[in-house]
């Protein structure tokens, strides 16, 4: 396995970005995240995670058009990179292998 490390929160953020596809910008990601994971996410925590992921090369981002709402500020849309996709798959693969390795009786508590 490669040396890529990715945290649980980062993973969820990346998946959400993937889910939202063309519509993945700050507020949308935050709302979707909160809806699905049923926990409160602050803009700060989310934005730092996004920044980190972008720096690691899992995500790219670009500005959208200027609109009349949002105080005239542009949205920043995020997209999962091919490298990011590979990492997500790796993570899932690892999990899957682990699940497969669990003896059937171990979880019959």
């Amino acid at each position: 396995m490669s040396k890529v490390s990715i945290g649980e929160f980062e993973e969820i953020v990346m998946l959400t970005v993937a889910v939202l596809y063309k519509d993945a910008y700050g507020v949308a990601i935050k709302k979707d995240l909160e809806k699905r994971s049923k926990r409160n996410v602050s803009l700060g925590a989310m934005r730092t995670a996004l920044k980190r992921l972008e720096k690691k090369g899992f995500l790219t981002s670009e500005f959208g058009e200027v609109t009349a709402v949002r105080g005239g500020k542009r949205k920043r849309y995020f997209k999962v990179t091919p490298y990011g996709k590979k990492v997500l798959e790796q993570v899932m693969e690892t999990r899957k292998r682990l699940w497969d390795a669990i003896p059937e009786l171990a979880l019959d508590i």
């Binding site: 700050g26 602050s42 700060g44 949002r70 105080g71």
Partner: protein, 876 residues
């Protein structure tokens, strides 16, 4: 875009966000926030604002905050960061030195802080009255024949009202008549309340003692109107709303018109209940125009521009008109004392009974001086060590200069370093003060707190700037010195560059002169205090219990005395009108000479027959009072030696004398002469004194001499017997020796402060010496090695290495001695009974300093002298 009015995001918050946010993130994050805000505003705009603030707070985190470090900006952040880093590294590299540096500054600052708190506390006395600059206390200088001239804060009852009408400068007056402890009756309940006093109706308009209930202009308007403190209100009625309640005092029903806050500790007047002053003179309509006895304090408010000297010129005329006595101006001189001098500048006033915690103001100046001294010593230490350590930083300076640093930059670097150290010292000093304050408070009986500093922004600013200035001042010389190194020389090798430093030696000399001065002063102060403690004052103060008398004990005096005397632990019982330890009151007195009757005014006290025996006062001539002679009750006088000398009889025994009101043809007789004993404090000379017995006058105090081996039991016996005789009044007693301790409290406290400071200053001085010794010996280590190889013994080497320091201490001694002598003899002037300054004290002080200094450096000296020379010589 324009928002609807109520959903505009708070501007300041957004501005704050824009300030701290990374420029790369600012646009989309702000947009996200505003979008959320707009959405939330539709539900509730206030909630939206709160959430926005919360969101921004959570955004204030690494990752979002922009890079404030300078390398991208055109400023000095990077350089300053580098300065701080190299300061920290050199700090950590030479831990001992840095610790000595900071620690000595810390101690100096902490000492200063404590002194500052103390001085601030003392200076805060009576400062809470709005009219404080216009309030004056009337005082008298009394020069009666046959007694020492004295200043007196007590005045006559009529002076306040009559002067207020005669002198246009006087806006208003109030009198303060201390009635001491009084028994209050509340129906069946009887309670003794301490510190009851009578005042004029204007009292609360002149002084700003805050009232909780009642109008300052009205609360003590009529006789029998009373104002009680919160504490008394709770004690009497168990509630605060007591206006309209009544109590009985001395048979009169008094009505409470107001409740005041408890009188603060920093007020020279202390009272729990105030009554209109006329309450004590209900059947005396002439009270306001009475002259004669001095028994109360008078305060005036003067108008703007009142000329005290001009007023003083009119006092004689005023006195002679009002008292109707020709000689009054020979005996009395009036003067006004400003309110702000009452607490700190009343040491020359002898009869000064309403002056709570009176303190010798000159000691305040001593404290300030001492505080400055210790700060100087600490800063000199700092300068000295930093300069001495310069060689450690020389290479750094050389390289910085080679790379292109200019002198100014290097100067700034070292100043910055020094400021940093002094600020660190300040922080430690605050901590140290916090730890030390409880102990100090116990020692000097104060309630000093650091809070009084931190509640005042101005003071915080002052303290910060003082530390800054200290940092700059202490850093200036080392910085100049360090920044002036020539790079070629220091990079080539610094060692030959350094010569003996006259500057550093003189700093050491100044430090040690100051420390030495304080050591010597401490020794003298301690000697004087011990002298006062041990001086035979002519009577015994040990194991004497003073029992306050009241109506019931006065009525049953003889029975009570007999019952007490039956106890085995009680060795003697006697009564008196006044307590020893103050100046005793002066009364008019007559003496019959061949040529006629002469009036004199000695101190007087009326006593019980066995007074001299109980107190162990020694007779020189004649006999003591005896019950066998009926005339000994009122017509026999025992005088002291001073008075006998003053009278001038060849043999005073048998001479005719008496109180001024005795008719000339029925005077009493002088029956004895005692040794002079110090009935007043040792600050004052022994005044002339006459003692007399008046069994029918009612003693104010009973002196009970207990068996020293069984004091506890003795006190229990007194309490038990007291309870058998007295039902209405709780017992109130005090020990005479504790009363005497009180007399010298101000002196003892000064003594302890000086001792502590002296110890600290020598300690700081030695820390500096320790550091310096290590450096200078390090520098001579090769010399030591060679000498050793050539055959010098360890002993010779120790002598050689200590020589320099010994010379410095000797020079300090020569400088410190005369200055200290002047200070000390000036201080001793305060005491009528004082020690002679012993030259040995100076020698002892010098020896102590030298000894401590040598011990301090011996650590390094002995190490160097015993070191293996091979080690120091092998690298060459």
């Amino acid at each position: 875009m324009a928002y609807p009015r109520d959903i505009v995001p708070p501007k300041q918050l957004i501005r704050f966000f824009r300030w701290f946010c990374d420029p790369e993130l600012v646009e989309d994050l702000e947009g996200d926030m505003i979008e959320l805000f707009e959405e939330r505003s539709r539900a509730s705009s206030s909630r939206a604002k709160t959430l926005l603030a919360w969101e921004i707070l959570l955004l204030f985190r690494p990752g979002i905050i922009r890079n404030f470090e300078g390398n991208k900006n055109l400023n000095n952040y990077g350089m300053i960061k580098n300065y701080l880093k190299s300061a920290w590294r050199s700090f950590m590299k030479y831990k001992t030195f840095s610790a000595i540096n900071i620690f000595s500054l810390t101690i100096g600052m902490a000492a200063c802080m404590v002194i500052f708190l103390f001085v601030k506390d003392e200076r805060s006395f009576d400062a809470f009255h709005e009219k404080k600059d216009k309030i004056y206390r009337l005082c008298e200088v009394q020069s009666f024949p046959g007694t020492n001239t004295q200043n007196v804060a007590l005045t006559m009852g009529g002076m306040g009202p009559t002067m207020a009408t005669e002198f246009p400068e006087i806006e208003s007056f109030t009198r303060f008549w201390n009635w001491g402890d009084q028994l209050l009756e509340l129906g069946e309940k009887k309670i003794t309340i301490e510190r009851v006093a009578g005042v004029d109706s204007s009292f609360f308009e002149i002084f700003d003692y805050p009232l909780i209930l009642g109008d300052p202009g009205e609360v003590v308007d009529e006789p029998l109107d009373a104002v009680v403190s919160e504490e008394v209100a709770m004690k009497l009625f168990n509630k605060m709303e007591v206006v309209g309640e009544t109590f009985v005092l001395d048979g009169d029903q008094c009505i409470i018109r107001g409740v005041m806050e408890n009188v603060p500790e920093n007020s020279h007047l202390q009272f729990n209940i105030l009554l209109n002053i006329k309450s004590a003179a209900l059947d005396n309509p002439d009270f306001d125009s009475q002259f004669g006895g001095n028994f109360l304090n008078t305060y005036f408010v003067l108008n703007e521009g009142a000329d005290l000297e001009n007023m003083a010129e009119r006092y004689p005329d005023y006195l002679s008109r009002n008292t109707g006595r020709e000689d009054v101006n020979e005996r009395y001189k009036l003067y006004l004392q400003p309110l702000n001098e009452v607490h700190l500048a009343s040491m020359d006033i002898e009869h000064d009974y309403n002056n709570h915690r009176k303190f010798n103001g000159t000691y305040i100046d001593v404290f300030i001086l001492v505080g400055i001294f210790i700060l100087i010593i600490a800063s000199l230490n700092f300068m000295n060590l930093t300069t001495a350590r310069a060689s450690n930083r020389a290479k750094e300076v050389g390289i910085r200069k080679t790379i292109g640093a200019i002198k100014g930059q290097l100067f700034n670097q070292f100043i910055l370093e020094s400021i940093m150290l002094s600020l660190m010292a300040l922080i430690f000093a605050i901590g140290l003060t916090l730890i030390a304050l409880p102990f100090l408070n116990a020692l000097i009986e104060r309630q000093l707190t650091l809070i009084s500093i931190f509640s005042d922004p101005l003071l915080i600013l002052i303290i910060l700037s003082i530390s800054l200035i200290l940092g700059i001042l202490a850093g200036i010389y080392p910085s100049l010195y360090l920044s002036s190194f020539r790079p070629v020389i220091v990079l080539k090798g610094f060692k030959s560059y350094e010569k003996k430093s006259l500057f550093r030696s003189s700093l050491i000399i100044i430090q040690f002169s100051l420390a030495l001065g304080m050591i010597i002063a401490t020794l003298v102060v301690i000697q004087q205090l011990t002298f006062m403690k041990n001086k035979d004052i002519g009577f015994t103060t040990d194991h004497i219990l003073l029992l306050d008398m009241n109506q019931q004990t006065r009525e049953k005096y003889d029975e009570l005395k007999q019952a007490l005397l039956n106890e085995s632990n009680i060795l003697g019982v006697t009564g008196s009108g006044q307590r020893l330890g103050n100046n005793l009151h002066q009364w008019g007195y007559k003496v019959m000479y061949d040529t006629g009757v002469v009036s004199v005014t000695p101190s007087n006290v009326f006593v019980d027959h066995d007074y001299l025996d109980v107190y162990g006062i020694k007779l020189i001539k004649g006999r003591t009072f005896s019950k066998e002679f009926a005339t000994d009750d009122g017509l026999a006088f025992i005088i002291n030696e001073s008075f006998a000398k003053e009278l001038g009889f060849e043999d005073p025994i048998g001479q005719k004398a008496g109180h001024s009101w005795y008719p000339n043809d029925s005077l009493g007789t002088i029956i004895g002469v005692t040794e002079d004993f110090n009935f007043n404090s040792l600050h004052y000379k022994v005044n002339t004194l006459s003692m007399v017995v008046h069994t029918d006058w009612g003693y104010s105090e009973m002196s009970i001499k207990l068996n020293g081996e069984n004091i506890e039991q003795g006190v229990k016996d007194v309490e038990r017997i007291y309870d058998q005789f007295v039902t209405d009044y709780p017992i109130d007693y005090k020990f005479l020796d504790s009363h005497f301790e009180e007399l010298y409290k101000s002196d003892v406290q000064m003594g302890s402060v000086i001792s502590i400071i002296a110890a600290l200053s020598i300690f700081i001085g030695c820390m500096g010496l320790f550091g310096l010794a290590s450096i200078s010996i390090q520098r001579r280590i090769k010399e030591v090695g060679i000498r050793k190889v050539m055959g010098a013994s360890a002993k010779e080497l120790v002598a050689l290495l200590s020589k320099n320091f010994t010379v410095m201490i000797l020079i300090s001694f020569v400088i410190a001695t005369p200055i200290t002598y002047l200070f000390i003899s000036d201080w001793l002037e305060n005491f009528a009974f004082r020690i002679q300054i012993d030259p040995l004290i100076f020698l002892a002080g010098g020896m102590i300093a030298l000894f401590i200094a040598l011990i301090t450096i011996s650590f390094h000296v002995i190490k160097a002298a015993n070191a293996n020379p091979v080690k120091s010589l092998k690298y060459e």
